[in-house]
């Protein structure tokens, strides 16, 4: 058996992950063509590469189907309740930085903080007869954050993409989404609340606490850990 390492299958995240491991003497690459989701590992024994969608890696770690996995802090915290008990953080990879934030229209001059958002939500509900809608795909993290901050009279609406556009389209009044530079938010006339930072995320290497580790996997894991220093 081999130690299974899950890595995002696409784009810059995959390339940067390959480069990061290469710096530690572990050569990851795609087997065959660019379209094939099989991986190849050189420079270390008994480690196999599994290419997966970044969004599925938390689940695979929690199910113990992979031993190690690279994915964002945001996805692990959102998808795995009590994540500390299911996975262990091994190393932040230093890229893929993004903040999960609450943003509102920049023209809301009266709303700078969560306290303002709460007051605006109360008035909005009284005026429009429905609660203030916040578009997001991070339902659990956002709900826990808002509950903790004492914000009421809001409702979460699901948005799996182009979330910044929901306000202009009037399908939501505010959003909670990840941003790295804030460029997309600004382009869509949104601003971040001054205390609206929910989570700082980056690409991170995780170890599954529930996967089975036989002798070969244990040895391979020890070797990976030695290489990472």
């Amino acid at each position: 058996m081999t130690l299974k390492l899950g890595v995002p299958s696409k784009g810059r995240l995959m390339e940067k992950t390959f480069a990061w491991f290469a710096r530690h003497g572990i050569e990851l690459s795609r087997a065959g063509s660019d379209r094939e989701y099989a991986g190849k590992v050189d420079g270390i024994e008994d480690v196999s590469l599994i290419l997966l969608s970044a969004g599925e890696i938390p689940r695979e770690l929690a199910a113990g189907r992979i031993h190690l996995g690279v994915t964002g802090t945001d996805l692990v915290h959102e998808k795995l309740p009590r994540w500390e008990q299911q996975v262990e953080e091994i190393a932040p990879l230093g890229f893929g930085q993004a903040d999960l934030v609450i943003a509102v229209p920049a023209c809301w001059v009266d709303v700078e903080t969560l306290d303002d958002l709460d007051a605006a939500a109360a008035a909005f509900r009284a005026t429009h007869g429905h609660r203030l809608r916040i578009a997001t795909k991070y339902h659990r993290l956002v709900r826990e954050f808002l509950t903790d901050s004492g914000v009421a009279d809001y409702t979460l609406v699901d948005s799996q993409g182009a979330t910044e556009g929901t306000v202009m389209n009037e399908t939501a009044e505010a959003i909670a989404d990840i941003t790295s530079t804030g460029e997309t938010l600004r382009a869509n006339h949104l601003k971040i609340l001054s205390d609206g930072l929910i989570l700082q995320s980056q690409a991170t290497l995780w170890r599954s606490r529930v996967a089975e580790y036989g002798a070969a996997e244990k040895a391979a894991l020890a070797e990976v850990m030695r290489r990472l220093g």
Binding site: C107, D116, F124, R131, E144, M168, H189
Partner: protein
Amino acid sequence: MPNRSQIQARAAMMRVRFEAAGAQVVDPPLLQSAETLLDLYGEDIRARAYVTSDALRGEQMLRPDFTLPVVQMHMRDGAEPARYTYSGEVFRRQEHDPDRANEYIQVGYEVFDRDDPAGADAEVFSLFALQLRGLPLRAATGDIGILTAAVQGLRTSDQRKAALMRHLWRPRRFRALLDRFAGRKPEPDHRAALLAAADPMACDAPMIGKRRPAEIAARIDALRADRDTPPISDTEMAGLDSLLGVRETMPYALEHLRDIAVDLPQITPALDRLEARIAALQARGVDVGKLDFEASYGRTSMEYYDGFVFGFYAERRPDLPPIATGGRYDALTRRLGNGAEIPAVGGVLRPDLMLEIEEAGQ
């Protein structure tokens, strides 16, 4: 651990006892309209209840409790006065504690009665105490109505009172608002700057979204009005602080609260109701001299209760949720009654936990 049929048998026995007390058996559906529940509890309910859906009826929730459907049923076609009992599963999502059940049986008793609220409070509490007799439990009681009366009678703007009432169930947020309204915490800088601006509405960004300029202007007016509202007085703040700290046996708590009413005279009618309740409990044989009363009790978990509240806790098992909880929810009948309303009080028991404690005690 008790098995399912033992729990069912115990639940049936308890329900029969409530029937003997005059209650009619009701059996509300498992699926409840998500809209009504969301309206009532807000987004937080999604963390506690299982949601499902179909294309015809939209979102439905597996019932997280019985109170809501029983109230709806009563408001639709109930006679007065009415007493109901039920037993059946409720479903609660658990995201943090895998040891807590996500499906369990509740047995409940609800009284809808206009004439004698103190008597109805005492009736529910004493019937619950009877069902739980012999178990090593501690009873806690409180009264949300006293805090509500204190807030509504504050000598400050309606706007501030409404903000406090809205967050009565979020103690941390309530405290932050109170401190600001009392001038103990400065107004945030960004707000002062906004109100000082020559044209606060001035903004480079285009107006987008469903919240219109008039609503933003109205909020700025409200902020201005709030800035010009004098702080809540030290006397009233001291009164509220002592009120929130009251934690004694019932008769002493009442005495202490009567002293506080010198500074907060608005709570006197609520204290008269507490006094009548104590008398009614005593008349039913409850040892009120040993019954705890906490003025802050029920503020974090019992969102629809607005008067008398109570809970029974396993003294030697702090890991267990309450074995029984209940209280008065007059306002809920108003919100669900389409103009109608009726004073109501009731509660639920957990036969599974009762059996677990009994087993452990043997």
